[in-house]
Subunit: 202 residues, 4 copies
């Protein structure tokens, strides 16, 4: 009896996920994936374009979710919200952040640390790029509303974004418990708020 297409697709995906998590992109083997999924090796190529394709399927959703989440945190309406930042609000955001990280922890670990050789290589960089772009746009919005804001160099913004990227990576790598993360962010916001005011003058 023939197994339905979607089942096979899923089973390949699941097997691939396991293999990638165990070995990383480079050391993962198509044979192993095929074997673990009970699908003929060559048939895998009917469902996916190749190793890289499977990898993208495994790891793409995490990437997309994270990118999307970040974009959402920097829409126009957030400008005011963040200005009159109530701590409570930010805590909520933090929890959302943690949720997304926990949900995709394995995938993010792959993306951050073991994607070399795949088209997803340089994820860290891409994430920093994305954050930088988004932050930049966001700052433009802010400046339109509060024109007194002083300028900050592009590289600094990038560095700040890179910091945030690094923080995410640290969380992914070391799995601190939720409370530790919250504590950290509290310190981070105070730190960043003070620093930012120093630089922008408000």
């Amino acid at each position: 009896m023939r197994v339905l297409k979607d089942e096979k697709y899923e089973s390949i995906l699941k097997a691939a996920r396991g293999e990638f998590i165990r070995k990383g992109y480079k050391d993962a083997s198509m044979r192993a994936i095929a074997a673990a999924s009970g699908v003929g090796l060559s048939n895998v190529y009917n469902y996916f374009s190749g190793k890289d394709g499977i990898y993208a399927a495994v790891v793409g959703p995490a990437r997309d979710a994270l990118f999307l989440f970040i974009s959402r945190q920097h829409t126009e309406e957030m400008v005011d919200v963040n200005r009159q930042v109530t701590f409570g609000h930010r805590e909520e955001v933090i929890d959302d952040y943690i949720d997304i990280i926990e949900r995709y922890r394995d995938e993010l670990r792959l993306l951050f640390f073991r994607s070399e050789g795949s088209s997803m290589g340089g994820f860290r960089e891409a994430l920093t790029d994305h954050m930088t772009r988004v932050s930049y746009d966001y700052m433009a919005l802010e400046k339109k509303r509060y024109p007194a804001t002083a300028d900050v160099s592009h590289f600094f913004i990038r560095a700040l974004s890179s910091w945030m990227t690094g923080v995410v990576a640290e969380i992914v790598a070391h799995e601190p418990d939720r409370q530790r993360i919250r504590d950290f962010f509290r310190e981070y916001f105070r730190f960043e708020f003070a620093g930012w005011r120093e630089l922008t003058g408000n």
Copy 2:
């Protein structure tokens, strides 16, 4: 006529450096290294213990220099110096920093982004670890001298170290010109100084 040992050693090292820079650790090939250095493949093993050994020889000095430099920036005598921080001094340090990065840019790029699979894998993490340790010790010294300093969570210090790691990585990756880097650090110091005062209360 036989070529002198040191020449061959150097030629292997040079060839290996090129190969690694071009391909990264994992994709580099011993065959290619041997070929490019004009040394018989098996003879390479008379000079180095293996692929990983060559890699360490290529990339180790950069690693050591950076680690050492960081340690030196956090000795006891630096506590006071940094307190009465004259900008001039810090600029010097920054230039030293930049020097070291530029000197070893290729190697650092390898260490940061393409060392997976080698014994140097996880360099980013190791660097952050080192910075964290050093910072921690440094803060202990500072606190001994200025006991009023408030405590900051370990994870925050680690995050700050990770930021610095990230900054180095950014510089390595994007090669901004010296002036841009100096500008960045000026902002960074103001930012960090304000933030730090906010957290520690002095």
Copy 3:
């Protein structure tokens, strides 16, 4: 046009057999086997799990046949038969023995003398073990039927088994003609019968 699977399987097996017989396990080369069988080296691994796997396929049947044959010679119903040993019967057995040895001579030569390094290494020992075990069981049966039989030390039985193993090895190695073997066994049976009676007292 593609050659059928079984043909290739057989051709690999045959080539491997030749290579092993020529070189022994350790010195045999996968490359040579592949070349001689006209199959791509890597493709060999689609048919066999590896060098040891091929070796097992080459040599396993001989081993199994010999072991099985020995077991069969020591079943319960043989107890009485051997007691009232008619020479004619034993001659038949001897011929069966010789048949099996001649049929698998090359493989047995491999097993006895050139299996070092493979999972079939220690064949001589394994054969002696098997014979010892079987003889022991057989003697238990015999004793149940003829309780007067005196005991013989385990090591002696093992030594006797080892003798038989040695005899097989000698036959494999020197290829004496059938008549010489029959003559030998005639002497052997007289010798052993007398010795055995001396030890067991009947």
Copy 4:
């Protein structure tokens, strides 16, 4: 300061012995031997002709001692002694036998089981050859003195020799304690004596 020649020779020999015992002939490595003996790899070739040469030096004495011992047990004067065999005498011989095996156990283990590929390969066979030859000569002597002795086929004598070889191998392999060996030989002599009388008629 130069180390004396003999010291180096001995140190190579000792190191080689260890390496061979650990790995067997085939898997032993000249590099490892050189390293373990503190002698330059190429210098080893000033003391020995090569791998096989060292092996012969390691293992030869054991071989010679055993061969010589066997020859000595079958000299002319032994004919009478063995005829009026007092058990006491034979026990002495057995102990000498055991002594020699224990003294050279490691080397004999090498010779019996791990010499494949070396010029000492086929030691088992060589030993059986030697025993056969010696036994044959011995029987000739015996027959000269006691002409009534019936003939026994060459192959049977060889098989008997092969048995003894096998017994030695068993002892080498399994290291039974001295008492077990003595017990075995007591059974063996009774067994063999009875069998032999049956065949030769006296």
